[in-house]
Amino acid sequence: MHQVHFYCWHFMAYPYLPADFDDKYESGWVTVPNSLWDHERADTLYQGYIDQLVYAEELGFDGLVLNEHHQNIYGLMPSPNLIAAALTQRTERAKLVILGNILPLHLNPLRVAEEYAMLDNMSDGRLIAGFAIGGGPEAFNYDVPQPQARRQFWEAVDLVARSWVEDGPFRHEGRYYPLRYVNLWPRPRQKPHPPIWIPGALSLETMDEVAKRGYDFFLSSRRHDTATQMAVERFADRVEAHGGAFHPYRMGILLSVYVGESDEQARAESREGVWYFLRNCVKGHLRSRGRNLTFGPGVPSASVTSWETYLERADPTTNNFGDVETWEELDSWSSVIVGSPETVRNRLWRMIESFKLGTILIQFHFGNLPDDLTRKSMKLFATEVAPKLRSDSGALFAEEFPALGEMLTRPGAAA
C-alpha cells in the first residue's frame, strides 16, 4: 500500500533576536547585522537542531529536509551538505532531502555533483538531490544577475545529471560552465542517480522544464488553496504532455505544523515561536513591512510578461504572509496548521484529499520555538496524527491511482 510520506523540514532559524528586532531592522535577510549573533547562546545551536532531525527519524518520519540560505536569520544553513553529512552518520533509514543547493551561487556545479555523490554514498543511497535557482535575497547575497539565472540554472542541472550517468571523462560545452574534463569520482550510489527535486512557484515554465526531465516538483508556496490545486493540475498536465506518469509522489508541498494536546494549548504554546517566525524570519521575504528583497525591479527574475501580469493584480499594501495579525488570518493561508491532533489531522486530510499529493514536507520548528515544545509537537504528530493519515491516504491513492504500484517500479520513477 502506497501511503503519504511525511518529511521533517528544518530551517535552523536563528532564535536569539532581541525583542525589538522588528522595530529596529528592515529585514531578516542580507542586511541583518551579524553583530546580533549571540556567541554564548549560539554555541549549541547546530547540535540541538541536528538532534531534532535525528529524533524525527526515531519517530518514523520518512525523510529529513534541509535547505540552503545565506546571510540571514531565517535559515542558518549556508551549506546544507554539511548538515546532511552529519546526518549520514547519525541516521540509518530516513531519506536525506537537500532542497536544494542553489546552483547559480556555485562557481562550478561539478562541486555540487561531487558533494551529492559523496552524500549518496555516505548515506547508503538515501539522498534526494534538490536544485534551486535562488530568489531575490540570494541574488543580493552573491551578486547573481537575475535575467540570466534561469538559463544558467538549467545548464548546471543538466551538467550535474549528465556527470552522474555518463562515463567520463567527457567535455561539457556550455555557455556558463564550459569544462574540458568532466569525470566524477565518486559516482552516486543510487542508479541511475539520486531522485531530483526542484522547487518552483506557479510558473508554467519551471514546471515544464522539470516535467521534461522527469524530475519531481516542489511547490514553493506559503498559501495553499485553489492555486495549489491549479499547480497540481498544471504540473500533472506537463508530466503527461512529456509522456510521463503523474502520481502523488511527483510533487510536494511545505506545511508548518504545531500539534498540542488541545487547540487552545497548541496556540498558547506555539504563539511566540510562530510570530517570531512571521515577524522576524520572514521579514524581507514574504512580508510587506520592512524591505521587500524577494520581488521587484532590483531582482528582476520574472520575465517582462510575467511581471506585467503580476502588476495587473498586485496590491503592495495588502498583508503578506509575514504580516498576518491573528490566528484566523493565519488559518486562511492554510500553510501553518496549529491545533489539537484531531484539528491538525482533519486539516491535513482535507489537503491530502483535494490535492492528492503524497509528499508532505512539514516544518515543526518555528523561529524561537523551544526544543522541548518542538519535540512534543513532533511526537504528537507522529503518534496521533500521522498513522490515520497514512492509512487513509493509502486507500485514497489506491482508488485514485490504481496503477500506482506499476508507475513506481518504472525505471526513473521517483519514490
Partner: protein
C-alpha cells in the same frame, strides 16, 4: 517627435527622434526617457530645439527587444555601434546620463573619431577607490508595502521633492511606467549587478583615448555616483570641463532641465 523602431540584426531598437540640426545621440539613464516615462521630457525637448536628437532605448528597454546575449558592457558598446551604423550619421555629438554616460564613455574611447563632442551627466562607469556607486538595485526594492523613499533619495537631491515624487510615486504607479522601470532594471542587471558594479575597472585608464572636448555635468548632492567620479572623468579625459550644480542630485536633467540643456547646448555649439 517620432518614436520608431529600427531593425538591428534581427532585433528591434526603439528610437525617439526630434528636432533638426546637427546630430545629437542621447543615451538614457534611470530617471529618464525610455526608463521612467515614454516620449520626451523637458530636457530633451529643449535640446531638440537646437539639435537633431536621436535617443535609442537600451536593449530590453521601452520598445527595444531584450537580448540574452548581452552580459557585460562590452556587449552593449558593440550593440550601440550596430545601432549607430544603421543611422545616416558618421559623426555626432554624444550625450549620456548616468548609466547611459558610462556607455557613452566606453563608446568614445573606442571610436573617438565618430564622437564630435562628449557630454556626461552623472555618469557611472569608473572605479574610484572607497567611493562606491550607490546600490540602486537595493534602493529600488520597496519598503513598508510599496514605498520608494530610498530610490528617490538616490536619484534626486531630496526624496520628497516634487520631481522625484512625480516620477517615482509610492504605491503602484501607472503600469506602463512601472514596466519601463522594470525593463530598465532587467537591462541594468545584465551589465551591472554582478561586480564590477556598474563600472569597468579598465575604463579610467582608457579615457585618454578620447581627446576632443568633453563636458562633465554633476549634481553636488548626487547620492548615486559620488562627485569624486566627476573629478576622475575630468582628469582622465584630458580636455574635459566640469560643471558642478550646487544643490542638485543625481538626475540633474530632471531637476534642472533648462540649466542643463543650456550648458550642453552652449558646449556643443562652442
Amino acid at each position: 517627435m517620432s518614436i520608431r523602431t529600427v531593425d538591428v540584426r534581427g532585433r528591434a531598437v526603439e528610437l525617439i527622434e526630434a528636432g533638426t540640426g546637427d546630430a545629437l545621440v542621447y543615451l538614457h539613464d534611470i530617471a529618464d526617457i525610455h526608463a521612467a516615462r515614454p516620449g520626451l521630457l523637458p530636457f530633451h525637448e529643449a535640446l531638440a530645439n537646437e539639435f537633431h536628437v536621436i535617443a535609442p532605448a537600451h536593449p530590453g528597454c521601452a520598445g527595444s527587444d531584450e537580448n540574452d546575449d548581452i552580459e557585460e558592457i562590452e556587449d552593449v558598446v558593440f550593440h550601440l555601434l550596430e545601432v549607430l551604423d544603421a543611422l545616416p550619421f558618421e559623426t555626432f555629438a554624444l550625450v549620456g546620463a548616468g548609466v547611459g554616460g558610462w556607455i557613452a564613455a566606453e563608446f568614445s574611447v573606442r571610436y573617438p573619431d565618430r564622437v564630435s563632442r562628449l557630454a556626461l551627466l552623472g555618469a557611472t562607469g569608473l572605479h574610484v577607490p572607497d567611493q562606491p556607486i550607490g546600490d540602486i538595485f537595493m534602493a529600488v526594492q520597496s519598503t513598508d508595502g510599496g514605498m520608494y523613499p530610498d530610490f528617490r533619495r538616490m536619484l534626486f537631491a531630496a526624496e520628497d521633492q516634487a520631481e522625484a515624487l512625480a516620477m517615482f510615486p509610492d504605491g503602484l504607479g501607472e503600469i506602463g511606467n512601472e514596466m519601463l522601470r522594470y525593463r530598465m532594471f532587467r537591462f541594468l542587471s545584465r551589465v551591472g549587478f554582478r561586480p564590477p558594479y556598474l563600472y569597468n575597472r579598465t575604463l579610467r585608464d582608457r579615457l585618454y583615448r578620447y581627446d576632443r572636448p568633453a563636458l562633465i555635468i554633476w549634481g553636488s548632492e548626487d547620492q548615486f555616483v559620488p562627485g569624486t567620479h566627476a573629478d576622475a572623468y575630468v582628469e582622465g579625459l584630458g580636455h574635459a570641463r566640469l560643471e558642478m550644480l550646487e544643490g542638485a542630485g543625481h538626475s540633474t536633467w530632471i531637476e534642472r532641465p533648462g540649466d542643463v540643456a543650456a550648458l550642453v547646448s552652449e558646449f556643443l555649439k562652442s
